[in-house]
């Protein structure tokens, strides 16, 4: 059982506040992805959980034990570093065995575990090599194998795939998911790649400016962003936003359309819709197509609505040319509303 609880953890470097009072619970054996733009504090949070950084305040609990005063080696964690940190003076075998030797396991057990994890990561033919003789992708596998061999309660990964090429990343992503689903470890995985996050996570924590903005399942994050930031950060192309003015209670005027919306007291809100939740029909937004990008199954059309760019993903059967005027109807159940003051969903 290794549930991770983070209570009001904050971190400042000098006068710079990198993390603002983070609260988070990661369930036993869950695959949690920390997602956010560069510099939002993902690595800092991960390093605090690992014990490589001390929090300025707050508590970290792993498996019912408060660990924030313990050194990394007593926390039952293993970590995969962004630059792999494979020991250059040891062979792949000795790299994977390193932690096991520290645990003083019998040689027989070490051999067994090293061979098993090496097989799992498809590096069994590399065991005698040194890290200088490995490619980036192979080094990455060694780093993961080294962490897995420890059979840790918690495995922490900091952008482990970011240095790999696109194809290898795709392949490793699928493998990682399979391997970690079979292990008994709780996983925290840091990335700024939303596709990676979506495909791997049981749950995603979206971070922005040292805060957790939303913590939910991938689908929920995508469908029901809790904040404007999440809507604009997740999804490619991102959500469209249009200013909405209050007409009456629960009625909003959006780019010339009258729409039913929340009965909110504010005089204006932001209307939001995903580009793929638009259809062509009567009585929608009047949009002038500007750029047309065929993507195969779909066509991405960047239009102008109300003088602002507005994206729609349409069926590629539709023939659209730049300059065409389209009427785009938002699917009513997919419309979201954000408060322009708080930037949160209403």
């Amino acid at each position: 059982m290794a549930e991770i609880i983070i209570k009001q953890v904050a971190k400042s470097f000098g006068t710079f506040q990198a993390l603002h009072s983070i609260d988070m619970t990661i369930r036993d054996r869950e695959f949690m992805v920390l997602l956010g733009a560069s510099g939002c504090g993902k690595t800092t949070l991960l390093r605090i959980i690992a014990g490589l950084e001390t929090p300025s305040q707050g508590e970290v609990w792993i498996g019912g034990r408060r660990v924030d005063h313990l050194p990394p080696r007593e926390r039952g964690i293993a970590m995969v570093f962004q630059n792999y940190a494979v020991f250059p003076h040891l062979t792949v075998f000795e790299n994977i065995a390193f932690g096991l030797r520290m645990k003083k396991l019998p040689q027989q057990e070490i051999d067994k575990r090293v061979n098993r994890t090496a097989e799992l990561m498809h590096i069994e033919q590399l065991l005698k090599r040194y890290s200088g003789q490995l490619s980036g992708g192979q080094r990455q596998r060694v780093a993961v194998a080294r962490a897995l061999a420890m059979e840790p309660d918690v495995i922490l990964m900091d952008e482990p795939l970011s240095n790999l090429d696109a194809l290898l990343r795709l392949e490793m992503r699928a493998e990682l998911k399979g391997v970690l689903a079979e292990s008994k470890s709780t996983a925290i995985y840091v990335t700024h790649d939303q596709v990676e996050a979506m495909s791997l996570a049981d749950r995603i924590s979206v971070m922005n400016g040292g805060k957790i903005v939303q913590n939910a399942s991938p689908v929920e994050i995508y469908r029901d962003p809790a904040a404007r930031f999440v809507g604009s950060f997740i999804g490619n192309p991102p959500m469209n936003f249009i200013k909405a003015n209050r007409q009456d209670i629960g009625r909003w005027r959006v780019a010339g359309l009258d729409l039913y919306g929340p009965s909110h007291g504010a005089s204006s809100l932001e209307f939001a819709i995903r580009p793929e939740d638009l259809t062509i029909g009567e009585g929608g937004f009047i949009a002038t197509a500007r750029v047309v990008e065929p993507l195969g199954a779909h066509t991405l059309v960047t239009c102008e609505v109300d003088g602002k760019p507005f994206r729609a993903v349409l069926d590629s059967d539709l023939k659209v040319a730049p300059g065409d005027v389209l009427t785009l109807i938002p699917k009513p159940d997919r419309i979201r509303w954000f408060d322009p003051e708080t930037l949160l969903a209403v």
Binding site: G51, L52, P71, R73, A78, M79, A85, P88, M102, R146
Partner: protein, 282 residues
């Protein structure tokens, strides 16, 4: 006023390149001669018979006569001085790495107030001329009973070698990514274990090189050695004192005895010294 000077004719690029090569080769030869000719003469004269050394004309070739060397080695006090030199140099080596490496580690891994000042001060120790310090040092050593001991002299040599040890180890440690240590911590090591199992093996060659460097600094040092020791003279101090009044061929033998170990050591670790300077100059 019609023609250009003939030397101003345009030249082929190859010409200038060849000229550049010329300068390069000449400079290299001159530098090598500057170092090698004295060493060669030293060897020739050491390996010639006493009469050849003071005679004329010279052949310029050694006659492999070991009389001078034998006489030198049996010269009373030489063996003892040699031993003292080794003891002091080894002590210096151990002390300067023992003190310098932790300081270099701290400089490269920790942020602490006054770090830059500390680095400056480390280098500043070389700014005080030894002759200025020698007399007060000698007085102090006599007071605490360190005068005329290997340990006392090793302390002084350590002060001389320490700035190098600190700066060299600083760049060695800075060349090891901190993630390697952090990875070791997460894999069950404490700070010391991570250092021994991960950092040490990686910096060992460089560390050996800087230890040898400290050794040669001590081995070659003459001033402090001459002032601070009387009975327990190191080879340098002994030679400076006794060879002034010795015949020429003995001076050559003594010179060789000093140069050879230093040469061998530096030669053995040359690769690491170059690498070290490469890092240190960054």
């Amino acid at each position: 006023m019609s023609t250009l000077a003939p030397t101003d004719e345009p030249r082929a690029v190859g010409d200038t390149r060849r000229a550049g090569r010329w300068v390069f080769i000449t400079a290299t030869v001159m530098l090598m001669a500057w170092v090698l000719v004295p060493i060669y003469l030293l060897f020739v004269n050491t390996l010639s018979s006493p009469s050849e050394v003071s005679g004329f004309p010279k052949t310029g070739l050694p006659s492999f006569d070991f009389a001078s060397v034998e006489f030198f080695l049996s010269f009373s006090g030489v063996a003892r001085a040699l031993w003292n030199s080794v003891v002091v140099a080894v002590l210096t080596m151990v002390l300067s790495i023992g003190i310098g490496a932790p300081a270099g580690y701290a400089l490269s891994r920790f942020d602490f107030p006054g770090k830059e000042v500390f680095r400056m001060v480390v280098v500043m120790t070389r700014a005080f001329p030894l002759p200025l310090l020698a007399l007060p040092l000698a007085v102090m050593f006599i007071r605490v009973g360190l005068d005329d001991t290997a340990l006392g002299l090793a302390f002084v040599h350590t002060v001389l070698a320490l700035p190098f040890a600190v700066l060299i180890t600083f760049s060695l440690f800075s060349g090891i990514p901190i993630e390697l240590e952090e990875a070791a911590w997460t894999l069950g090591c404490n700070r010391l274990q991570a250092f021994i199992k991960v950092v040490m093996p990686l910096i060992l060659p460089g560390l050996v090189a800087s230890a040898v460097f400290a050794f040669t600094i001590s081995w070659n040092e003459v001033f402090a050695a001459a002032v601070l020791t009387i009975e327990n003279r190191t080879l340098t101090a002994f030679l400076v004192q006794s060879l002034n009044v010795s015949p020429l061929h003995l001076k050559f033998a003594g010179g060789t005895a000093l140069v050879v170990p230093a040469l061998i050591f530096i030669f053995a670790v040359r690769k690491y010294l170059f690498a070290m300077w490469g890092i240190a100059n960054r």
